[in-house]
Point group: C2
Chain length 136, copies 2
DNA sequence: GATTAGTTTGCAACTCAGTTGCATAAACTT
DNA sequence: AAGTTTATGCAACTGAGTTGCAAACTAATC
């Protein structure tokens, strides 16, 4: 638990039992998960608590959210150093076969030349296709 | 109406009064609009009919949908030649001030080097920031 | 260690976008 | 005109996300 606690406190989140559990589950995941995915990993759980936990985590930049177009927002851990600035952002991938959403952490979002007088705060880029696992 | 009808029939959509109206409204828009935006442009309207009209239009590639992260999908007209293939796609912009979503039709989505064995079908790229209109 | 103040959790209940089923109306077919 | 297909309108539902409030917990102080 020590490790989990440190991760929380280093992001200025009070470590409660609930938050440790949620962070541990998120750490285990190889893919981004939604609020209801998370809910189903508990035998008995309250959606609202999990919802607020995720909100807190996101606010403190422990996790980031991905709108993959499925209608349910997905969440995944940020890297230690992540500040969720445009330069920290990476591409996400949604597999049309397995329906999973991955961080392509190594692929930064390419920069774009916007029209004059437009300023950027954030970019969401989701590639949809078939992942290597599902491509035979 | 002749013009509107032609646009519909050329995309294999039977021109009904309802569809002509919806297409005309969509043509007038300078920005992408949601189902409820559309609904509000009618004095008396049925959400479901509009919903199905949009679905039909999208299926026939007369319009395309944009998930801008606001929770409501936006729709905008496709170009005449658009087949909604990856090479037809462009970047979208969501203004955090005026809350409007625009097509940046001239900015194609940059191509990405995906990891080995990943294949692409579609890409959604939404830049959030402040548009030229709102940047003083 | 009891008292208080602040934070977190759990429950109920709600909003809002999107969706389905079914019955009526309109448009095509022969 | 009768029958078939397609489009429209209404009611009702789903599912994600959200808010308010009260109970439980935590931390800080006496």
């Amino acid at each position: 638990m020590k490790d989990t606690d440190d991760k929380l406190t280093s992001r200025n989140i009070k470590p409660t039992a609930m938050r440790e559990l949620v962070l541990d589950i998120l750490t285990e995941q190889k893919m981004a998960i939604s609020l209801s995915d998370l809910e189903q990993k508990f035998h008995k759980s309250d959606k609202v608590t999990l919802y607020r936990t995720l909100k807190t985590f996101e606010e403190k930049k422990l996790i980031h959210s991905i709108d993959d177009g499925t209608g349910a927002i997905k969440y995944a851990l940020c890297k230690e150093t992540c500040q969720c600035h445009p330069e920290d952002l990476h591409v996400h991938f949604f597999c049309l076969k397995c329906q999973h959403t991955f961080c392509l952490s190594d692929i930064p979002i390419p920069s774009i030349n916007l029209p004059v007088n437009f300023s950027v705060e954030n970019i969401n880029m989701v590639v949809k296709g078939v992942c290597s696992n599902c491509n035979d």
